[in-house]
């Protein structure tokens, strides 16, 4: 009989929830009980809210278990592996061979989460061992570059296919990839560079990390095809140092690809096609996501953007023609070459083709990595796939595009995912961070949060970005502390437009977006802070008060015991009192009280 296959999901998120422990435990039990199982690893399948995930393939079919810990793993081994009795309590989905491998789910929500997606970029994530090139090859890996070699497809027609597919840069800008390639291809030079921008610095985004950790070869193959198309000689993957697992797996994948001659000289017997890739680790600077800053950083300089033109396609890395695309963009390329541009254009809207990967997080029930066809509404992503808002709270806004993006309020939730539709709301598509916020998130504080981020990350070159963001941050901090003044909103708007108009790079040009969109859609919250000195979301500490409701307080003393600053006093079985001068507004009493006796206003 064939061995039972047991596969543990070991992406960064899985590891953080204890997947390594689960893996090691299974390994120990396997040795101890001499079990005939093949234990394997895979990466993120996107269902982060059910991590750690364990998959089992046995003679009857396929089973996916979720939320596994050290006790449940014993249960599964005893019942399922030793006695062929799947444990329904922890099962998410299964496919039985006797049922033609039809996928069945236990919970409706998991079904919607999985079946509403369409995977092109994430086609292999969670299905292969990312450290095995054979696994990648078994799922049509490196078939596209072989197709190019066997069918003798010219580099010009590769560029044309990508142009016809309508693929646009997935890093956020949305510039047509094919056109970018054409510019770089047109420039003649003995040396040309192709760079993969894997400096995913947006707070709240982890799509690129998941692709690099889960399917590094797809990005490498995309780069090889890009190199063929623009006749590049050298490749660089610029990856954040904060992603150690991604860097490790990329290096493993590159070594494997070299061994199999997908990299090196005369690749797949295409005469004169010499190309290799190195990984460069970033050192922690958000601005290095901007292409000219990224180039400076690869050259070992401070990552400061420079004026364009000349564009990188003319004079980029070491002054040679250079093409830069983002991780997700490259991961799309092999699929397009293999399936044709027409197949790709079947997904999406008129001007935005294909799919988009989003990192869905925040106050949403099912956070995770989702890939959806362009054209889907934001409402469907958040309420159908994401399962709605956590803890029965009310939806307030969704933030797209990180510090360069904006907040979209409820009445615009039927906006479709498409570069132009999202731009029209004042937000941007961005690289795919999608943070859902509920009624307890203060929009002024959120704007302050992003300004704090860009202010720290500004490289300091342009006055408006360097000083303007600082001034805006000061105003926003004042407002959230109850010291807002009449005219602050107008001042913020004026500064915003000046910073947008007078900054050199994308960081400055988009830095005010979070402020502008929150003013546009949540002006009443700003006004409540400034005029009434109140925070409607009850989140800004200086503007809220905790008080004991003497009617409801039973004098159980729980609040007094838990108060970190001993600001609550009172006798046992008698109503307690909070000393407002000592209260640090930490909210511990509010969350600990079982009788709803702490009032917050």
């Amino acid at each position: 009989m064939e061995n039972i296959k047991v596969i543990v999901g070991l992406g960064s998120c899985g590891i953080a929830t204890g997947a390594n422990k689960v893996y090691n435990l299974i390994k120990d039990i396997k040795q101890r009980d001499k079990l005939n199982i093949d234990l394997g690893k895979t990466s993120c399948v996107g269902m982060c809210y059910n991590e750690p995930l364990v998959e089992i393939f046995d003679k009857t079919g396929y089973y996916l278990y979720g939320n596994i810990d050290e006790t449940t793993v014993n249960d599964i081994i005893e019942n399922h592996i030793k006695n062929n009795n799947p444990v329904n309590d922890y099962l998410i989905s299964y496919k039985l061979i006797s049922d033609n491998n039809k996928i069945k789910f236990f919970k409706e929500e998991d079904k919607t989460f999985s079946l509403s997606q369409h995977k092109i970029v994430l086609r292999n994530c969670g299905y292969i061992n990312p450290e095995s090139i054979a696994d990648y090859e078994s799922r049509q890996g490196y078939q596209s570059i072989k197709k190019i070699a066997h069918e003798k497809i010219s580099s010009a027609s590769v560029v044309k296919t990508i142009m016809d597919s309508g693929l646009r840069g997935r890093g956020g800008g949305g510039f047509p990839t094919g056109l970018k390639w054409k510019f770089a291809a047109n420039k003649k030079s003995d040396e040309k560079y192709i760079i993969c921008n894997a400096d995913e610095g947006d707070p709240g985004a982890f799509m690129d990390r998941s692709v690099l950790e889960g399917d590094p070869h797809s990005v490498i193959e995309g780069m090889i095809i890009g190199a063929y198309a623009i006749e590049a000689t050298h490749g660089v993957i610029y990856c954040r140092a904060e992603y150690p697992l991604a860097i490790k797996r990329l290096n493993i994948a590159l070594t494997q690809a070299r061994k199999k001659a997908y990299l090196g000289k005369n690749i797949i017997s295409i005469k004169g096609f010499n190309f290799d890739i190195i990984v460069k680790e970033g050192a922690g600077a958000f601005v290095c996501g901007e292409e000219t800053a990224l180039i400076a950083s690869v050259e070992g300089k401070r990552g400061m953007p420079r004026k364009r033109p000349p564009f990188p396609a003319e004079a980029g890395l070491w002054n040679k023609p250079t093409n830069i695309n983002n991780v997700e963009t490259f991961a799309n390329v092999p699929w397009i070459i293999l399936n044709g541009s027409e197949e790709f254009t079947k997904f999406g809207t008129e001007k935005s083709k294909g799919t988009k990967v989003f990192a869905l997080a925040g106050k949403v029930k099912h956070s995770g990595l989702v890939e959806v066809p362009m054209g889907i509404t934001l409402r469907d992503i958040i309420f159908k796939i994401g399962g709605g808002i956590k803890d029965g709270k009310k939806f307030k806004a969704v933030q797209l595009g990180g510090p360069s993006g904006g907040c979209i309020p409820e009445h615009l939730l039927d906006t479709i995912v498409d570069y132009d539709s999202i731009n029209s709301t004042g937000a941007i598509m961005g690289s795919g961070g999608m943070i859902v916020m509920d009624e307890t998130t203060c929009m002024v504080d959120l704007a302050r949060f992003f300004l704090d981020f860009v202010q720290k990350e500004s490289c300091g070159k342009c006055t408006f970005c360097r000083i303007g963001t600082k001034r805006m941050l000061e105003i926003l901090t004042r407002i959230t502390q109850g010291e807002g003044e009449e005219g602050d909103i107008e001042k913020l708007e004026e500064l915003s437009y000046q910073i947008k108009d007078n900054s050199l790079c994308g960081l400055g040009q988009t830095a005010p977006n979070p402020v502008l969109t929150t003013i546009k859609y949540f002006r009443d919250e700003y006004e409540a802070h400034i005029k009434k000195k109140r925070c409607p979301a009850k989140s800004c500490k200086k503007l809220i008060t905790y008080e004991v409701d003497p009617e409801k307080c039973t004098g159980c003393t729980v609040c007094a015991i838990n108060c970190p600053v001993d600001a609550i006093s009172g006798e046992r079985k008698k109503p307690h009192l909070i000393d407002q001068n000592n209260c640090i507004k930490c909210g511990v009493c509010y969350s600990k009280c079982k009788f709803n006796a702490i009032k917050l206003y």
Partner: protein, 174 residues
């Protein structure tokens, strides 16, 4: 703007520890005369010592021929580089958007209280350094912190403090 860390070099004299400069010879010979070498060199030096000592800057400048101001310029630009030794355990509390809306500020406050230090500082016994970072990329588990490369997710204030106390316990047992 990205200049903050240059201003904090008050305890320079304290850093004149016994730095064995020979340790970085392999890094220098590996990267010398390669273009674009500066960041990998600094990363290598930091891996060796846990920070980049002033003496190492001088040695790098002498042996590689890069100007000292260029070296410092790069080292102070990127958040990764440390000019002062950190504690034995580096606590990085994530302040990405997903963590922020789920009260990562509270986590930092609780840890400040527990360790009796401010954000960016090191405890007196040199055991812990508390830092805030922009995003660790584990947004679905927010709020998150990373200690010595290990990520802890779905935190609340009490959980975060408990993790620190566990580490303290193992430290004092040794």
């Amino acid at each position: 703007m990205r200049i903050k860390r240059t201003n904090t070099s008050k305890n320079k004299t304290k850093n004149h520890l016994k730095v064995d400069l020979k340790l970085i010879d392999p890094i220098i010979s590996k990267y010398k005369n390669k273009k674009g070498n500066l960041i990998p060199i600094l990363q290598g030096v930091q891996t060796t010592y846990g920070f980049i000592p002033h003496e190492a800057f001088i040695k790098l400048s002498d042996e590689i021929g890069l100007k000292l101001n260029d070296l410092y310029g790069v080292a102070t630009f990127y958040a990764q580089f440390r000019l002062h030794p950190g504690g034995k355990h580096i606590i990085k509390v994530c302040h990405g958007t997903a963590c922020h809306v789920q009260n990562s500020d509270g986590i930092t406050d609780a840890l400040k209280e527990e360790l009796k230090i401010n954000d960016g500082e090191t405890t007196k016994d040199n055991l812990f350094t508390l830092e805030s970072v922009a995003c660790l990329g584990c947004c679905s588990l927010a709020p998150v912190m990373m200690i010595d490369g290990e990520t802890y997710g779905k935190l609340d204030n009490a959980k975060a403090v408990k993790i620190i106390r566990e580490i303290k316990k193992t430290e004092f047992r040794v």
